[in-house]
């Protein structure tokens, strides 16, 4: 969040001159883009899964910088807290728990041409996305269906991003909010059930316990 404050201060201190604000927006974008690309390449290329998890954190920080550059301050903070602070910790915990696979099994692939084909498909995905973005007609639907990003209060003051987003989540998007709450509870219950010991099913007694009950 301090980065957001710094960027905001930089653009405000530029005052009438928009050159500094313009340059700082591009600078933040460039740094974020560099972090994203370096992190993504690290995730897909490095051998050690722990290194991949650390490169994922670099990517997430880059994405948070891009969020800040587009004035989505709440989402940038939530991205750091939830993604980099919880999900990657989960990944690292499972990697440490299972033991690191130092090298993926050198056994032969089922499909011989899998790797070149995978590279070709990845390249095709990227080219297709870029071509479609230029050629296709974007249907975006009604504008501002859920309120403008820079809405003003009744007295004319500007409202903050956090306030606007919070209002929209608790009024317009209340149903998805409640459903995701239920989803989180379901995920927790599922995790507990899966982590339970499988040595015997519920209600079943082991051999030793059965002999104990029936007597010698």
């Amino acid at each position: 969040m301090t980065t957001a404050l710094l960027v905001q201060a930089a653009s405000r201190s530029a005052g009438g001159g928009t050159h500094l604000a313009h340059a700082s927006a591009w600078a933040v974008f460039a740094v974020g883009a560099g972090l994203i690309l370096v992190g993504a390449l690290g995730v897909i290329l490095l051998r050690n899964p722990v290194h991949c998890a650390l490169m994922l954190v670099v990517t997430l920080f880059g994405v948070a910088l891009e969020f800040i550059d587009q004035s989505a301050y709440f989402l940038a903070a939530i991205q750091i807290i939830v993604y980099a602070g919880a999900i990657v910790i989960l990944f690292l915990f499972v990697i440490m728990f299972l033991g690191v696979d130092r090298r993926e099994r050198a056994a032969a692939e089922r499909l011989r041409a899998q790797r070149p084909l995978a590279l070709a498909l990845g390249l095709m995905t990227l080219i297709l996305l870029l071509v479609l973005s230029r050629v296709g007609d974007w249907t975006t639907g009604a504008r501002s269906t859920s309120g403008a990003l820079n809405a003003r209060t009744a007295t004319g003051g500007a409202t903050e991003n956090v306030q606007l987003l919070g209002q929209s989540i608790y009024t317009r998007y209340l149903l998805p909010f409640e459903m995701t709450s239920a989803l989180l509870v379901i995920a927790i219950v599922a995790a507990v059930v899966m982590a339970r010991s499988r040595s015997r099913a519920a209600g079943e007694m082991s051999q030793a316990e059965q002999e104990e009950v029936t007597g010698p």
């Binding site: 899964p49 993604y83 696979d101 993926e104 995978a118 859920s146 309120g147 899966m194």
Partner: protein, 101 residues
């Protein structure tokens, strides 16, 4: 004044392509999962870009819910991977069938 939205969209497309390539190339299940997270982040970046372009708050609300669902999905997915590991010493994508039955 700020960066045109096309730059962000291209960056998100590149991130998505890298995530898809990594998902197809890697065999370690945990790294494949991380590549899925890369793709989710690319989609989040696209949502926020369009939210700013169209001056609509719905894009940022969508990112909020994507984040929540991604967290729940990671919890369940890692639980499945740990359940696989209970039987085998390594976890690769070819081992999912041992959970059958």
């Amino acid at each position: 004044m700020s960066v045109p939205s096309a730059w962000y969209l291209v960056l998100a497309a590149v991130l998505f392509g890298l995530g898809a390539t990594g998902l197809l190339i890697r065999r370690n299940v945990l790294v494949m999962y991380m590549c899925i997270e890369l793709m989710l982040n690319a989609v989040n970046l696209t949502f926020v870009t369009f939210s700013r372009t169209l001056n609509d708050l719905g894009g940022q609300a969508a990112v909020f819910f994507v984040l929540v669902v991604a967290a729940a999905e990671v919890v369940v997915g890692l639980g499945i991977i740990v359940a696989i590991y209970r039987r085998r010493a390594e976890a690769t994508a070819d081992d999912v069938h041992i959970l059958k039955g």
